[in-house]
């Protein structure tokens, strides 16, 4: 059985998404399975095409937002979506969306990026998390 990393992705700001996506890439490169459970603002970030216009960063550091974006463009750093797609190419990355949040926001699986695999509830996530070497809440 491969080792696994499980992430509850609760945040929808670019800085947090970047952190989660880099960890996913790293884990996939280390031959670990990656489980990502999208909930609340994390669902918002994975709405179709939302990543193209999402420039939000954690409000505590909002004043750094534009500088960070400029630096990332200048240094040609991959976006968080590119990281996730890259992780999926090299490894087993499973992305599930929280049924409760989808219901609250009035969304279906079709409203999300095609990289999202399925809708599940929190019990399915817990079952995967309990078998994980690393569990994170981001």
């Amino acid at each position: 059985m491969k080792e696994r990393m499980s992430i509850v992705l609760f945040s929808g700001t670019v800085d947090k998404l970047l952190a989660a996506s880099i960890l996913a890439t790293g884990a996939a490169a280390m031959d670990m399975d990656v489980e990502i459970f999208l909930t609340t603002w994390g669902i918002e970030a994975f709405r179709k095409d939302a990543y193209k216009t999402n420039t939000r960063i954690s409000s505590d550091f909002a004043d750094y937002g534009s500088t960070m974006r400029e630096l990332m463009t200048a240094k040609k750093a991959p976006t968080w979506m590119e990281n996730i797609l890259g992780a999926r190419e090299i490894g087993n990355v499973h992305i599930a969306a929280c049924s409760m949040t989808l219901d609250l926001f009035g969304l279906t699986l079709n409203d999300l990026e095609p990289i999202v695999d399925e809708i599940t509830g929190v019990a399915s996530f817990m079952e995967r998390a309990r078998e994980s070497k690393v569990s994170l809440f981001i």
Binding site: S99, M100, D103, I119, T120, G121, V122, A123, S124, E127
Partner: protein, 80 residues
């Protein structure tokens, strides 16, 4: 698909959102005798995976799953 199973308890979890269907299931489980069959109807899309996962995690048996007009019905037997 119609089921021939004899249902001992029925839980109407329609309209309940995650994680309430499995919590309701867990809480009523102590009143279920071994071998008895419980049917639970849910509309939460997360239940599709959560209830089978719950059954496996708690060592109980999922006998059958039906879906009719957006309502998922799971038939579970108490084996643990």
């Amino acid at each position: 698909m119609t089921t021939q199973l004899h249902v001992d308890h029925f839980i109407d979890a329609k309209g309940m959102m995650c994680p309430m269907p499995i919590i309701t299931l867990k809480k009523m489980w102590k009143d279920v005798a071994p071998g008895q069959i419980v049917a639970i109807a849910a509309t939460d899309q997360g239940a599709r995976r959560d209830i089978p996962t719950w059954a496996e995690a708690t060592g109980n048996r999922l006998l059958e799953t039906n879906e009719e007009q957006g309502v998922l019905t799971f038939y579970l037997q108490k084996t643990a």
